[in-house]
């Protein structure tokens, strides 16, 4: 096959705060043949998005090309002038960004945005471009394709918008499309519909692609070959099947195993009365939007109940009710047989101490102006009345427990990595010596390997300290690995709840079935098999 894209020893540098240049892509070479899809895999900071943007001859503000060549269709795109780049972007190479919502202009209709490129490049008249766009919308199974484009971005769902963006990328029939984490911000069931649409498109038009993701299982569905990147260098490159089934390098092996299932040993049936109960909670926000209706949940001492659901299912609102940040309309939260006051302001400090919370975004969960020692020391002082020297000793113990060195005590959050920040959040929760810890999507903002470390830490702490977790997540692979009991939520209602084994073995509730089957598996055939199975059963891919 003809070589379409050839990147040779690409070096991209970024300016640091001190004004020096540091290499963010350090001599990466890769190639894409016509009609082929290359998957770029790596953690944040691996340089994958930088390479993706480089294919469009673009370097982010503060970055520059410092070496190497990007030959696309026989042309080194780095050397192109302004006009050359204009001719390149759209007709030859197009880009699909992670957040369609942030990439579309909210003040323009979808038709105007999708048709802009072919009209500007003189490839079609507005009428032709609209016809083409409507046809593309139809291919992508968007509703009411003739008029879909008359809507504004906020009038369509996230999954639909992401597909509209794929249509926009296809508008000039480019030879290469760069997909930059197009499904990362979507729910699992929506991810399937977008993945299926992208896969169809590429197959039908023979478009080549560069597919960027941190999720190996997702990349495996789309790519012919996978290139693993880390710290701006290539770790490993090979055919998809070979990289997944027989990874050569230690880092790739870690990435593969982090996604694998290693289920938690099963807890026996509940014997004692539950530690915490949520009984028939109905809640709404002041806007009048009802977000929880008649939700109940029971948490046994020393066990983990996972609350699973997609965005908008009300799982985080449930956490707000348990902590007292949102007062429910009806229902109650019962701790060891005693109903807690609905609002946190009415609860005693002793009651507040027993329920601690760990958040999704460790960046905003820690006060950026407080050192680690101050952050961890505050609950020690407030709840346990420790003096300065006792606090120092206990902080050191806690740091040791979460796997950080004692010298971290004097650092500010800005000097920590994402995983380290999340560990400090865990230590702050532990400092209160709680009975219950609510974990709200604690790993979803972290890279896979870091997330795996956090999960292992939480499990170890549960084994050592007998903590009870309410674990809120959208990721079923995590549920399988850490939960004892599962509550599945949708649209503010509990769909199904019970011990993990019962939830995970058929027969399922139809929604649980949809969720379970939508979780990507690390097999290149998985998506095709799933779609075939659903088609046979007459289940639409669009949830």
């Amino acid at each position: 096959m003809a070589r379409l894209l050839d990147i040779r020893d690409l070096v991209v540098e970024a300016r640091t705060m001190t004004g020096d240049w540091t290499r963010i892509v350090d001599g990466v070479s890769c190639h894409v043949d016509a009609g082929e899809v290359l998957g770029l895999i790596g953690e944040s900071g691996a340089g994958k998005s930088t390479i993706g943007l480089a294919c469009l001859a673009f370097a982010r503000p503060g970055a520059r090309f410092a070496g190497g060549a990007i030959v696309l269709d026989g042309q080194n795109v780095i050397e192109l002038d302004r006009e050359g780049r204009r001719a390149l972007r759209g007709p030859k190479v197009a880009y699909v960004a992670q957040s369609a919502a942030a990439s579309f202009n909210p003040a323009m209709t979808l038709f105007d945005q999708v048709c802009e490129a072919p009209v500007r490049h003189g490839l079609a008249s507005m009428a032709e471009a609209r016809r083409e766009a409507a046809a593309m919308f139809r291919r992508l199974q968007l509703p009411d394709p003739e008029r879909f484009g008359d809507r504004y971005p906020h009038q369509v769902s996230g999954g639909q918008l992401q597909r509209a963006m794929a249509a926009m990328a296809m508008a000039c029939r480019p030879k290469l499309i760069v997909f930059d984490e197009p499904t990362t911000a979507l729910d699992v069931t929506t991810q399937i519909e977008v993945l299926a649409a992208i896969k169809d498109l590429i197959r039908d038009y023979g478009t080549a692609g560069v597919y960027i993701s941190h999720d190996l299982a997702v990349v495996a569905q789309i790519s012919d070959r996978i290139q693993v990147l880390r710290h701006g260098r290539t770790v490993e490159v090979g055919a998809t099947k070979q990289v997944i089934e027989a990874p050569q390098m230690a880092y790739t092996r870690e990435l593969v195993t982090a996604r694998k299932e290693h289920p938690k040993t099963e807890a026996g049936p509940a014997t004692e009365a539950p530690l915490l109960q949520v009984r028939g909670v109905t809640a709404q926000y002041s806007s009048g939007l009802q977000v929880l209706s008649d939700v109940s949940l029971a948490l046994q001492r020393g066990r983990t109940v996972a609350v699973v659901g997609e965005s908008g299912s009300g799982k985080s609102t449930l956490a707000r009710v348990v902590t007292g940040l949102l007062k429910p309309l009806t229902g109650e939260v019962v701790l060891e047989g005693t109903a807690l006051p609905a609002g946190y302001r009415q609860r005693t400090r002793a009651a507040l101490r027993r329920i601690q919370m760990i958040y999704q975004m460790p960046d905003v969960a820690l006060n950026p102006r407080h050192t680690v020692a101050e952050t961890i020391g505050r609950p020690l002082q407030l709840y346990l009345g420790m003096d300065a020297s006792a606090r120092r000793r206990r902080t050191a113990e806690l740091l040791d427990q979460i796997g950080l060195k004692p010298e971290f005590a004097e650092r500010l959050p800005g000097e920590l990595s994402g995983g380290q920040k999340q560990r400090v959040c865990i230590a702050r929760a532990l400092a209160a010596e709680p009975d219950i810890v609510i974990c709200d999507e604690v790993t979803s903002a972290l890279d896979p390997l870091i997330a795996e470390g956090i999960l292992q830490l939480l499990q170890r702490l549960q084994d050592e300290l007998g903590l009870s977790y309410i674990f809120i997540t959208h990721d079923l692979a995590i549920v399988w690995n850490i939960a004892d009991d599962v509550v599945v939520m949708r649209h503010g209602k509990v769909v199904e709840s019970g011990p993990k084994r019962q939830i995970f073995t058929p027969p399922h509730d139809p929604y649980t079935e949809l969720l379970l089957s939508s979780a990507p598996e690390m097999r290149p055939e998985w998506l095709d098999e799933l779609l075939a199975r659903r088609a046979a059963k007459g289940v639409s891919t669009a949830a």
């Binding site: 001190t18 944040s44 507040l352 905003v364 800005g414 209160a432």
Partner: protein, 282 residues
């Protein structure tokens, strides 16, 4: 001292001028060759000479001495008024932004009313009713400025109080004092400090305007704005001897230099703030 390491030249010059002004205000009276309202000559607007380094003013007083005394009055009143406006504005703004509800509504409407009246008119009105003593001037300026500070502090507190570390503090059972003082204030400080610099400038200009209109610092006390007014006529005689123009220009230049200097320092601090908080990876 690490804070000052990568300071650009403009900010360094600004900081030097600010420090010079602070020195003048602190040591001015003891450095002044003559007393504040001492007449050194019977002739007004003498050009600079060995006896009077900057010449004399409209009443034959030593201009340099007046400048040095004036620094203390102008900067002192501006500093105190700005401090009071920040103490009041930040406290109320934080409380309104964090607690919301009725308190926010009541304070917000009061501020709306005060801001609806042009600040110079409002101040002139209050000064003509209450008299023109220094404490009254400070109170009037502090009130007018506190409304602006309130708006900024409220907006900062609203942005910060929805962040999860503040939520975590609430759930921990912290009292409002801790939440405002330890969680919100340290994070709002850099923009507030930059704002302090700018407000301080406005206040100096404002005092000068008041003095120029005759409702500010009363004679015989020296202040820079008043000195510009007193000596404005001298500009007519500069045709005969350009050096006579020093009398009105010296205090005017002092005001302009300090204003520009403070702005240079504030710009640098704001830029620095943006660099340290906005420098995250995509």
């Amino acid at each position: 001292m690490r804070y000052f390491r990568d300071m650009p030249l403009s900010a360094a010059i600004g900081l030097a001028i600010v420090l010079l002004n602070v020195l003048m205000a602190a040591l001015g009276p003891s450095l002044a060759p003559y007393a504040e309202s001492e007449q050194v000559s019977t002739q007004p607007w003498l050009p600079p000479s060995a006896e009077a380094l900057l010449g004399t003013d409209n009443l034959g007083r030593d201009l340099l001495s007046r400048m040095l005394y004036g620094a203390q009055t102008t900067l002192g009143i501006a500093l105190i008024a700005t401090l009071i406006s920040f103490a009041v504005g930040v406290t109320l703004g934080f409380a309104a932004g964090t607690l919301g509800g009725l308190l926010d509504q009541v304070l917000g409407r009061i501020v709306d009313v005060l801001m609806a009246i042009p600040s110079l008119i409002l101040s002139l009105l209050m000064l003509s009713i209450l008299g023109t003593g220094v404490p009254v001037i400070i109170a009037v300026i502090a009130t007018v400025d506190a409304t602006r500070v309130f708006r900024i502090a409220r907006a900062l507190a609203m942005n910060l109080s929805v962040l999860e570390f503040v939520e975590a503090a609430k759930l921990r059972g912290e009292r409002i004092g801790w939440i405002l003082g330890k969680e919100i204030l340290p994070n709002a400080l850099p923009p507030l400090v930059a704002e302090f610099g700018l407000r301080f400038c406005f206040v100096i200009l404002f005092i000068s305007s008041l003095s120029f209109l005759g409702l500010g610092i009363q004679p015989p006390y020296a202040d820079w704005g008043g000195m510009v007014r007193d000596n404005a006529q001298a500009i007519n005689f500069a045709a005969y001897d350009p050096l006579i123009a020093v009398a009105p220009l010296a205090p005017a230049i002092a005001i302009a230099a300090l204003t520009i200097a403070i702005n240079l320092v504030a710009d640098w601090m704001l830029a620095k703030q943006n660099r340290t908080t906005g420098g995250g990876e995509a």
